[in-house]
């Protein structure tokens, strides 16, 4: 064998234990198996609600992460995309009889268009300037929805008739909803992994880490950013439609509030920005916890779960800025270096 070995050895094809860019790991497969089991096992009603919300929020966190984590576009205005998706498909269903299975694509597309315009308009803004612009844009959408009563029902909101049928995307069985949300999660996760391992992912990471250097290497940063925001908004909008079909009621406070926007950002931040598994872990850790805290402490200590939430966020940001995923990765690296 005289051929010199390739300088960068291709990794041997065997399964990785922990999540990594570009490949599927055993950890991810195990997690998927657990999720499927949770759906199939038909747990009690209240648990099913938690599961449904956990899956949905994991998908939404992943969607936010494409803009916030991968592209570095931290947005506190994603509720606008969520709400646009939710309202679009609901208005189409309620007023025009369009099935949500089609409506959700239109909602997503509308959100994507809005996001693209916003990103182009805010092209020169960085850091806190950009964050505040997203906040302002979302508020504009919320106030518009609040006041455009003819279209959106204003503060009273819109309700979807709970007539169960597949065409209506309304189901009697929570298990079906859980499966629907899991489907959403899996699809968004697949998209995230695909982006992460692709050349487009490289462009995003580079533009995020150093825009000038990325430009000098042939990346068009504006195009990369706009694409990321558009994709993120599209997936978020679809999540909004799915939420509408589950919750069967929309109003600006529920789907367009700043608090909602913060939530979209919080879960990936806690779970680990910039990785695929991070937002999922964030949602899996936080959503059940906050639901349980809310149910358990109820009215008397209303806000306790959120106070804990806030406190945890501060601590995590200061001491574990790479979130849960980062902590896991360091654990895995330490074990790998300990192994003989």
């Amino acid at each position: 064998m005289d051929a010199a070995p390739p300088i960068a050895k291709r990794r041997p094809k065997r399964w990785r234990l922990m999540p990594e860019r570009g490949t599927l790991s055993l950890f991810e497969l195990a997690l998927l198996a657990i999720c499927v089991a949770l759906v199939v096992a038909r747990p009690p009603q209240y648990l099913q609600d938690v599961i449904i919300q956990t899956f949905l929020w994991a998908g939404l966190a992943l969607a936010w992460n494409i803009a916030g984590g991968f592209a570095g576009l931290i947005s506190f205005g994603h509720a606008a995309f969520f709400g646009l998706g939710a309202y679009t498909s609901t208005i189409l269903t309620v007023n025009h009889g369009v099935t949500p299975w089609i409506g959700l694509w239109i909602g997503g597309a509308l959100a994507a268009v809005f996001a693209t315009l916003l990103t182009l308009v805010c092209a020169r803004l960085r850091g806190p300037f950009f964050i505040l612009s997203t906040l302002a844009a979302a508020e504009v959408v919320r106030i518009a929805a609040l006041n455009w009563e003819k279209l959106t029902g204003g503060a009273e909101g819109l309700a979807i008739l709970p007539t169960a049928s597949v065409a209506n995307m309304v189901f009697d069985s929570k298990t079906t909803y859980a499966a629907l949300m899991l489907g959403y999660l899996v699809i968004v996760y697949a998209v995230t992994k695909a982006v992460e391992g692709s050349r487009y992912g490289y462009y995003l990471f580079a533009a995020r880490d150093d825009e000038d250097a990325a430009s000098a290497a042939g990346v068009n940063p504006l195009l990369a950013r706009t694409g990321a925001m558009g994709l993120s908004a599209f997936l978020t909008g679809i999540g909004g439609s799915l939420f509408a079909q589950y919750f069967l009621f929309l109003d600006p406070t529920h789907v367009l509030s700043p608090e909602l926007s913060f939530q979209f950002a919080l879960l990936p931040a806690l779970g680990g920005l910039g990785t695929a598994i991070g937002p999922v872990l964030g949602s899996f850790a936080i959503t059940p916890l906050s639901e349980m805290l809310r149910v358990y402490f109820g009215g008397k200590a209303a806000g306790l779960h959120l106070a804990i939430y806030g406190g945890v966020l501060v601590i995590v940001m200061l001491y574990f800025p790479s979130g849960i995923a980062g902590a896991l990765r360091r654990l895995a690296q330490r074990r790998r270096s300990d192994a003989p």
Binding site: D210, A214, A216
Partner: protein, 242 residues
């Protein structure tokens, strides 16, 4: 022979200060040209204008026969102009290999192929042992070599090196100098800004001297070393010219 790069009466002013003042020169394909001058001479500004980071105030930049003044950096990169940054700008959350693979993606179709070709380039600059190291752990010298690798991986027609020798040991300087000297034979024309003068004066057949935004000399190193204007520009500088 038509020029690869032509700069005509290029001026870039910041308010009342002319960082680049009426600079004109022409570079043919296959040349290795040094660019020296005291600090504040306008070298970085000149690079920024050529590479598209800023637009000129007046004058022309013609690359491969096309007027390109005011183009965007990514357009310059895609047209075949690569540059390094004086203060290295690595992608902090990517590994060394990934940093270079991004550049390689300009010409490779798949991520895997880009990673392979990045590995080859990294070996050339002597970073083969650092492929998976996170960039945050590298010293300045290594980061400079990473800059060079990223530029070469773009397979450019013209590369603008900006002080790539700073922080290197003498033997590393030797290695890097041979690398740079070999580039024209690979089809890469080089403009080389450098403060480590002994490296550049002994390697580059042609040197341009910039001082206060103006091109005050352009010729062979031996002639330049005796040029009174050049010597005057460097008076007070501790670097020697020969």
């Amino acid at each position: 022979m038509t020029a690869l790069l032509e700069v005509r009466d290029l001026t870039r002013a910041f308010g009342a200060l002319k960082a680049v003042a009426g600079v004109s020169f022409s570079i043919r394909a296959g040349e290795l040209v040094g660019l020296i001058g005291p600090n504040g001479a306008g070298k970085s500004t000149l690079y920024n204008v050529i590479a598209g980071a800023i637009a000129p105030s007046s004058g022309e930049v013609v690359f491969k026969g096309r007027p390109v003044a005011g183009w965007k950096p990514y357009q310059a990169a895609r047209a075949g102009v690569a540059r390094t940054f004086q203060i290295p700008k690595p992608y902090r959350h990517l590994s060394v290999l990934e940093n270079v693979a991004l550049s390689a993606l300009l010409h490779e179709r798949t991520v895997a192929a880009a990673r392979d070709s990045a590995g080859v380039v990294l070996a050339e600059v002597g970073l083969a042992d650092y492929l998976d190291v996170p960039v945050a752990n590298l010293t300045v010298g290594l980061l400079k070599r990473l800059e060079v690798a990223r530029a070469i991986a773009l397979r450019p027609s013209l590369v603008l090196f900006d002080e790539i020798m700073a922080g290197l040991t003498p033997s590393e300087v030797k290695g890097m100098t041979s690398l740079v000297a070999a580039l024209p034979a690979r089809g890469i024309t080089v403009i080389w800004v450098e403060h480590v003068l002994y490296a550049i004066m002994n390697t580059a057949p042609r040197i341009m001297v910039l001082h206060r935004g103006e091109l005050i000399a352009d010729g062979a190193p031996a002639t330049l070393a005796k040029d009174p204007a050049v010597i005057k520009a460097y008076l007070g500088e501790e670097t020697s010219l020969a």
